[in-house]
């Protein structure tokens, strides 16, 4: 099989296992989902929107911002359950525990309380407090949603297993639907625990169930293969090679576990004194990637089978080939260890597996570009390595996040400086224009007009409301009347005097007729002027207020920016130091695994050399016997 396809297959397998791993966090979502899917606060829906896309960092920080602004009052408890679940997913046990404890203490609804007890139990279990976890799970009533109820049963089974009550765990698991993926894992783990504790019969029965369970996808097929491999090797250890063969035959040849199965299958045949049959799987195995321990072991197994068949020459040749291959593999492992310690593993993994956010659940999809990358498949499959690498990746995300905020804060600082400058320079100018010239003058004019209007109204002075044409007529009439007065009682102008009197009367009549409407219009206009003036004064007061308040507000922003900048500056070196430390830990985990591979190689090489020596001894003895016979 080509190395690349193996790597891809391995990564798929990892992805599969991780899908199950995400079940616990999916439970948090389930617990946080609003009843009937009805979102009553859009900002809560926004957090769910990020959550459902596995953007957990955005989800939890956005949720905390919404809680700060009190934007999720309709989902207060659900929001807390979601926040607790998300923080728990990042390993913040203490804070998550406090959130759930507070929900219980404040007397949340039975549904929320049950979820809180369930998560508290989970936190305590994860931290190794078994008795406390059992106490918490005992407080869960019957208000969990069905999916979470299954998780509760699995947790209970795990708790029972943790205190070696395997019978109790079996009883709990028997109450679950057997088709569930998560409970298949639990059943598998229980089977292994039973076998290890010496209760082989029950353990084998459980593993046999998993080994024969219908599997709909690659993940569960792999789990089934794993159960069958475990059963096969248990049978081999119990010296039941025939049974072992039956179990190992169930393993798919294309499976990642096929190498182990082929090796065990060969050993079953060997144990049944059928070395020829043993050669079939071992020879097939010998063609596969030599970074696999089973493949390495097959090299001496083949040599052993030839010896069993009496083909000592071929056996010796195979042993010597194996020793050469082990030496070559040992050198390759040394090169891999050097590359890992030089940081190539982590750099390569990050480069090939970019991710958007810090995440509880994240898959290694591709192996790094490194010489002998095949050594790493087993390293990467380990839970401890994945957890440690996840922490390393999270820390790198945090470093990038802090750097991003450092840049943003710089921009905020500039923006604040610009605002401060604008307020300091422009606002006084605008206020000066408004208050010094027009506003004061308009106020005086308004007051004068009001007084004039009041006086005109008091005197019922219709001429005060004359329009321009009427005013012009009034002036002309006054002029005519003044002229007539100078002319005295000249009869020649008597008719002119009469005309002027009639015109003055008509004008007075017209103005008197228009007076009520004009008075109303004038009052209305004066009111509008007053309102405009009040508004202008209001604007001016607001500007004055802003002039007084904004510098203080800007100052508060500046203080907050400085304080946050300080927090970033304090966190940045902490994160950087932890990255270095965690990098060392992750690398040493990988190196430790490769060192174990080296140790295994050393054992194989010793076995091979010992067998070579035995073959030489045998040949020497045969020669001696021949020689003695001839003498």
């Amino acid at each position: 099989m080509h190395l690349w396809s193996r790597l891809v297959r391995e990564s798929r397998r990892l992805a599969g296992v991780a899908t199950i791993a995400s079940a616990s966090l999916a439970g948090a979502a389930l617990a946080a989902e609003p009843p009937n899917g009805l979102v009553k606060d859009p900002h809560y829906g926004d957090s769910l929107f990020h959550f459902y896309q596995e953007q957990y960092f955005s989800s939890v920080t956005g949720l905390m911002v919404s809680q700060h602004f009190n934007r999720v009052p309709q989902h207060a408890d659900e929001a807390e359950v979601l926040r607790g679940g998300l923080l728990l997913s990042y390993g913040l046990h203490r804070e998550a525990g406090e959130i759930f404890a507070q929900l219980i203490e404040k007397g949340a609804s039975p549904a929320v309380r049950d979820r809180a007890w369930f998560y508290l139990a989970k936190i305590r279990y994860q931290r190794g407090f078994i008795a406390e976890a059992e106490a918490a799970i005992g407080r869960v009533e019957k208000n969990l949603p069905p999916d979470l109820e299954e998780e509760r049963a699995l947790l209970q089974a795990n708790l029972l297993m943790a205190r070696a009550d395997y019978a109790g765990a079996v009883a709990v698991l028997d109450g679950l639907t057997k088709s569930s993926g998560a409970q298949l894992y639990a059943r598998y783990n229980l089977g292994i625990a039973l076998v290890r504790s010496g209760a082989s019969e029950r353990g084998v029965a459980l593993l046999d169930e998993v080994g024969k369970a219908p599997a709909t996808n690659e993940e569960f097929k792999t789990l089934r293969d794993k159960a069958n491999v475990a059963l096969g090797f248990t049978a081999l250890q119990d010296e039941r090679p025939d049974a072992a063969r039956g179990f190992l035959e169930r393993v798919r040849l294309s499976s990642m576990l096929a190498n182990k199965a082929l090796l065990g299958f060969g050993w079953s045949a060997a144990a049944l004194k059928q070395p020829r049959q043993a050669l079939v799987p071992w020879t097939e195995l010998g063609k596969r990637d030599s970074s696999d321990a089973a493949v390495l072991e097959s090299r001496i197994a083949v040599a052993y089978a030839y010896a069993e068949l009496g083909a000592f020459g071929q056996s010796l040749e195979r042993y010597n080939d194996a020793i050469t291959a082990f030496d070559r593999e040992n050198t390759a492992l040394d090169e891999s260890i050097t590359a890992i310690r030089a940081g190539k593993l982590l750099d390569g993994l990050l480069e090939r597996n970019p991710g958007e956010e810090m995440g509880w659940f994240w898959n290694i999809q591709q192996l790094p570009a490194m010489p002998h990358a095949g050594h790493l498949t087993h390293v990467l499959a380990q839970h401890a390595f994945q957890e440690a690498f996840k922490n390393y990746r999270d820390l790198k995300f945090l470093a990038t996040n802090l750097q991003g905020w450092t840049d943003n804060l710089g921009v905020f600082d500039d923006m604040l400086a610009n605002r401060r400058q604008a307020y300091a320079e422009r606002l006084p100018r605008i206020r000066a224009q408004a208050s010094d010239s027009r506003l004061a003058e308009l106020s005086v004019r308004g007051a004068l007009l009001a007084a004039e209007l009041t006086s005109a109204e008091a005197d019922s002075d219709a001429s005060a409301f004359a329009d321009p044409k009427e005013r012009e007529l009034l002036v002309r009439l006054e002029s005519v009347q003044a002229t007539l007065k100078q002319l005295g009682n000249d009869p020649a102008y008597a008719s002119a005097g009469e005309k002027a009197r009639l015109a003055a009367g008509a004008l007075t009549w017209r103005m008197a007729q228009a007076y009520p409407a004009r008075l109303w219009e004038a009052r209305k206009a004066l009111k509008a002027t007053d309102e405009a003036l009040t508004e202008a004064r209001g604007h001016d007061a607001a500007l004055a207020q802003a002039q007084r308040d904004e510098p203080a507000r800007h100052e508060q922003f500046a203080v907050r920016i400085a304080e946050l900048n300080q927090r970033i500056r304090a966190l940045t070196p902490r994160v950087a130091a932890l990255i270095r430390e965690q990098q060392g830990q992750v690398q040493e985990l990988a190196v430790a695994e490769l060192s174990r591979q080296k140790e295994r190689l050393a054992v194989y090489a010793t076995q091979a050399r010992f067998a070579v020596a035995q073959l030489y001894d045998r040949a020497a003895m045969a020669r001696d016997v021949d020689h003695a016979r001839k003498q």
Partner: protein
């Protein structure tokens, strides 16, 4: 012969022993010891950075989108079986403020009840108008483009407006409406 068999056969335990390990089922594979040392410090720093991000985002919002001018636009989907959402364009007072092309993951998140905050901005007090265009596939896989319009009054409080995609089972057509939250 038997002697040699005994020496070689136990080798399988080296490989087979690995087969008898319990499987990791998330963080629940086995009870872990209380986080101490490096792991504990990493959890502490994660908590500190999460809280710092909250405080920074609060500052950012108060600085850039003060409550008295803030307007937030959301998109949600109720059932949504009659419409496969591709994209949305939103105009606020005749100015395009958002053009969003949806990924399958985003559409799935909307289907599950998530609500997307598609725009956050500032508006003066007074009357404003939103026009939203949704494009996608309607019933019978037909290309579908529909609009929804709303006029609203912006006061001195933040304004939250939700653009909703619904299924009209009576008409067997998707419906688009707008809910002004406050």
């Amino acid at each position: 012969m038997f002697n040699r068999f005994c020496k070689v056969l136990p080798l399988f335990v080296l490989v087979g022993g690995v087969a008898l390990q319990p499987l990791a089922w998330g963080a629940e594979a086995a009870p872990a010891a209380a986080p101490a040392g490096l792991d504990g410090r990493i959890q502490d720093v994660k908590g500190d950075v999460i809280r710092l991000n909250r405080d920074l985002m609060v500052l950012e919002e108060e600085l850039l989108f003060p409550a008295n001018t803030q307007v937030a636009l959301f998109v949600s989907m109720d059932v949504g079986k009659l419409f496969e959402l591709d994209s949305v364009q939103i105009k606020l007072d005749d100015k395009v403020v958002t053009n969003h092309l949806y990924t399958p993951l985003e559409v799935q998140a909307l289907h599950r009840g998530g609500v997307q905050r598609v725009h956050l901005g500032n508006l003066k007090t007074g009357e404003h108008q939103i026009v939203a265009f949704f494009t996608g596939k309607g019933p019978h896989e037909r290309d579908y483009k529909r609009g929804a319009t709303v006029k609203f009054e912006k006061g001195t409080e933040p304004k939250y407006i939700e653009l909703r995609i619904k299924d009209s089972t009576g008409k067997l057509q998707p419906e688009f409406d707008v809910k002004v939250w406050q």
